[in-house]
C-alpha cells in the first residue's frame, strides 16, 4: 500500500530465535487489517544482499503510549536465514524500507456472528503472528476465539501473554511434551471438533504447510470453513512478479493464486495441498 523508510524502535529477543520487532510507521499502522503483512528490506542499503524484501505478518499495532493512536507495527520474526538474521540483529534507530500493509487479510464481515460463534485459531510456532489481530477483531464481533497453539518445544510458544490478556482459552501442545499436550497441535483441535460437532465453528490456521494441510483436512471432514494464512517465497509482494503463487483447484485456466495479493489469507479450499509452494 505504502512504501516507507521506517525506523526500528526496538528488537526484543524472545528466545529460540524469535524476536519481537517494533517499527515506527504511523501512516502504515493506521491502514492495517488482520492478516496483512509488510515487505521489509532486511538491511539498510537497497543494493545490499539480501536484495529482495521479506514478508512478515503484522502481529500487532504499536500504539502511542499516551494517545493510544497507531504509531507503528509489531512483527514476530524468527531467524531462519540470511535476511532474518540481519533483521533481528538490527539496532534501534536503524532505517529500513517497508512496503505495506499488503495483501488480503481475514474475512471479517459484520454478519459473521450470524454464521460463526466459535473460532478455532490454530498456530504452529511463528504462525501465531496473524492471530492476535484476528482474535481482537473476532472478540469485537462477539465471536469466541479459542487458540490452539503448538510448537516443537515450549520455547516455540512465544507471545502467549497478549492472548491471555484477551482472556481467551488457550490450548497448547508441544511435540516434546514440554508444555501442554504432547504431540501435534492438530490433535487437541481434532478432539475439540469431535466433542463439538457444530456447524457454527470456523477454523483459522497459520503455521507450517503440513499443519495447515491437516487443519484443512479436519475442516473438510467436519464440513467447516477454514481460512489459512499462507507462506510463499516472494519476489515483489505487490502482485507483479507472479513468484508467490499457490496452486488452486479453481480452474478457468488460472490455476495459480498469488499469496501476496489473493492471499496471504485464503479459504483453505482454494488451495491445492498436494503442491507445496516452498
Amino acid at each position: 500500500m505504502l512504501d516507507k523508510k521506517v525506523k526500528i524502535k526496538a528488537v526484543r529477543d524472545l528466545g529460540a530465535g524469535n524476536h519481537l520487532i517494533v517499527i515506527a510507521s504511523p501512516e502504515q499502522a493506521r491502514l492495517v487489517r488482520p492478516g496483512q503483512f509488510v515487505m521489509l528490506k532486511c538491511v539498510e542499503n537497497t543494493g545490499e544482499n539480501p536484495l529482495l524484501r521479506r514478508p512478515f505478518t503484522i502481529f500487532n499495532i504499536h500504539r502511542n503510549a499516551r494517545s493510544g493512536k497507531p504509531a507503528g507495527v509489531e512483527l514476530l520474526v524468527k531467524e531462519v536465514g540470511v535476511g532474518t538474521r540481519r533483521l533481528v540483529s538490527a539496532r534501534p534507530g536503524q532505517t529500513l524500507d517497508c512496503l505495506g500493509p499488503q495483501g488480503h487479510g481475514f474475512q471479517l464481515p459484520s454478519d459473521l456472528p450470524s454464521r460463526v460463534t466459535t473460532a478455532c485459531l490454530v498456530a504452529g510456532g511463528v504462525g501465531i503472528a496473524p492471530l492476535l489481530l484476528l482474535a481482537e477483531s473476532l472478540l469485537a464481533l462477539r465471536v469466541k476465539p479459542i487458540l490452539f497453539y503448538g510448537g516443537g518445544t515450549v520455547a516455540d510458544l512465544v507471545l502467549r501473554e497478549p492472548f491471555e490478556r484477551l482472556g481467551i482459552d488457550i490450548i497448547t501442545s508441544t511435540e516434546d511434551g514440554s508444555h501442554g499436550e504432547r504431540g501435534l497441535v492438530t490433535e487437541p483441535l481434532a478432539q475439540f471438533l469431535r466433542i463439538h460437532p457444530r456447524k457454527d465453528i470456523r477454523l483459522y490456521a497459520c503455521g507450517p504447510w503440513g499443519m495447515m494441510r491437516a487443519v484443512h483436512e479436519l475442516a473438510v471432514g467436519h464440513d467447516l470453513q477454514c481460512e489459512v494464512s499462507l507462506e510463499a517465497r516472494m519476489g515483489c509482494g505487490l502482485g507483479a512478479c507472479l513468484g508467490c503463487v499457490v496452486a488452486s483447484p479453481a480452474a478457468e485456466g488460472r490455476p495459480y493464486l498469488r499469496v501476496c495479493q489473493d492471499g496471504p489469507v485464503m479459504n483453505s479450499r482454494l488451495v491445492r495441498w498436494d503442491i507445496e509452494p516452498v
Binding site: 536484495l51 517465497r233 499457490v246 496452486a247 488460472r254
Partner: protein, 318 residues
C-alpha cells in the same frame, strides 16, 4: 507588484528524450517485462508519468497458467525465476489493463510470447490493431517453458524467421526483438533479427541458472532451472549490449541488473539507446522513477545538454 523570484522562465533541463523506431520516449528509462506486472500495480508507489515506457508482462493470445511453485529463489545479488509465462492473455490485457495504462503519459510496449510460431503471429496480429500500444517486444528467449516449446534463440536462422513473420503480422507496430544471453555469440542473433526487419533489440533476457536445497536435495525451483536476473548479471549484460551495439545499426535497449543511475549510465555509454529496469522494481518499487530522475540530475550536474552526448560515448585507454 514585486516579482516573484520563482517566477522566471524555468531553466531548460537537459534533453533526455530518445527515439526508437519513430516513437519518442521522454527519457531512456523503461521497466522490463515480467518485473512490472501490467504497470498499474506500481501506480501507487511511483509516478508512472516519470518514465519513458512500460514493457508489460509477456502476453500470449490465450492465458497461460504458468509453472507450479516454488517459482522464485534468491541468489547472491540476484534471483532465479521460473514463472513460466503466466499471463492473462492479450484480450483481457487490452480490455482490462490497457485503458488504465493509457491514462498515463508514457509509452506502452507489449512483450509477446508463444509456444509455437503461429501463436506469436496470432497475438501480434491481434495487438497490431489496438491503439495505445507503442511497440511489440518479441520474447524469443525465455528459458522457463517446457520442452515442447520452440526455441527461436538456439539458431540465428530461427530468429530470422520468427522476426520476419511477426514483422509481417503486425505491420503497424515497431518490432523489438529481445535476445537471450544463453548463446555462444549474441551478435549472430542480433544481425539475424536486424536483417529480418527488427526495429530495435532488447538485450538481455535472463541467464539460465539453478539452485539446490541441500536439506531436501531438491532444486529450489520446481521447474528445476530458472532465469537469473539482478545485479549479479549486470557485467554479462553490459558486455552483450556493447557487443550488440557494434554488430547492428538499429537501436539497442540495455537490460540486466540495472538498479542505479550509474548502472543505467554504463549501458548508455556502452551504446544502448535506452534501458529497462527489471528485478530492481521488486525490491524498490520506485526504482525506475528514481533512475529517470537520476539521469536528469546527472546531466544537469555534468552540464550535459542532451542524453545523446552519453549514448555510445565509450572511450578507450590511450
Amino acid at each position: 507588484m514585486k516579482p516573484n523570484p520563482n517566477d522566471r522562465a524555468p531553466l531548460k533541463g537537459p534533453r533526455l528524450g530518445v527515439e526508437i523506431a519513430g516513437v519518442h520516449f521522454k527519457n531512456p528509462v523503461m521497466t522490463a517485462s515480467g518485473t512490472f506486472g501490467y504497470g498499474l500495480e506500481f501506480a501507487r508507489y511511483m509516478d508512472l508519468n516519470a518514465i519513458g515506457g512500460i514493457v508489460v508482462k509477456g502476453l500470449s493470445m490465450k492465458p497461460i497458467p504458468g509453472n507450479p511453485p516454488p517459482r522464485v529463489y534468491e541468489t547472491a545479488s540476484g534471483m532465479l525465476n521460473a514463472i513460466g509465462w503466466q499471463n492473462i492473455g492479450a484480450a483481457e490485457f487490452v480490455e482490462e489493463k490497457l485503458p488504465g495504462l493509457r491514462d498515463y503519459d508514457t509509452n506502452v510496449i507489449v512483450n509477446i510470447v508463444g509456444f509455437e510460431l503461429e501463436e506469436y503471429l496470432e497475438v501480434a496480429r491481434f495487438l497490431n490493431d489496438h491503439p495505445g500500444i507503442h511497440a511489440l517486444e518479441l520474447n524469443i528467449s525465455c528459458p522457463n517453458v517446457g520442452k515442447g516449446g520452440f526455441h527461436f534463440n538456439k539458431d540465428p536462422r530461427d530468429t530470422h524467421r520468427i522476426t520476419a513473420e511477426v514483422r509481417k503480422a503486425s505491420p503497424r507496430l515497431p518490432l523489438w526483438v529481445k535476445l537471450s544471453p544463453n548463446v555462444t555469440d549474441i551478435r549472430e542473433f542480433a544481425r539475424a533479427a536486424e536483417e529480418a526487419g527488427a526495429d530495435a533489440l532488447s538485450v538481455i533476457n535472463t541467464l539460465v541458472g539453478m539452485a539446490i536445497d541441500v536439506r531436501s536435495r531438491r532444486p529450489r525451483l520446481r521447474f528445476r532451472t530458472g532465469g537469473l536476473s539482478g545485479p549479479a548479471i549486470k557485467p554479462v549484460a553490459l558486455r552483450m549490449v556493447w557487443e550488440t551495439c557494434q554488430a547492428v545499426r538499429i537501436p539497442v535497449i540495455g537490460i540486466g541488473g540495472i538498479s542505479t543511475t550509474e548502472d543505467a549510465l554504463e549501458f548508455l555509454i556502452a551504446g544502448a539507446r535506452a534501458v529497462q529496469v527489471g528485478t530492481a522494481n521488486f525490491y524498490e518499487p520506485a526504482a525506475s522513477e528514481r533512475i529517470a530522475l537520476g539521469l536528469a540530475e546527472y546531466c544537469r550536474s555534468h552540464r550535459i545538454d542532451d542524453i545523446h552526448e552519453i549514448i555510445g560515448s565509450l572511450k578507450d585507454y590511450e
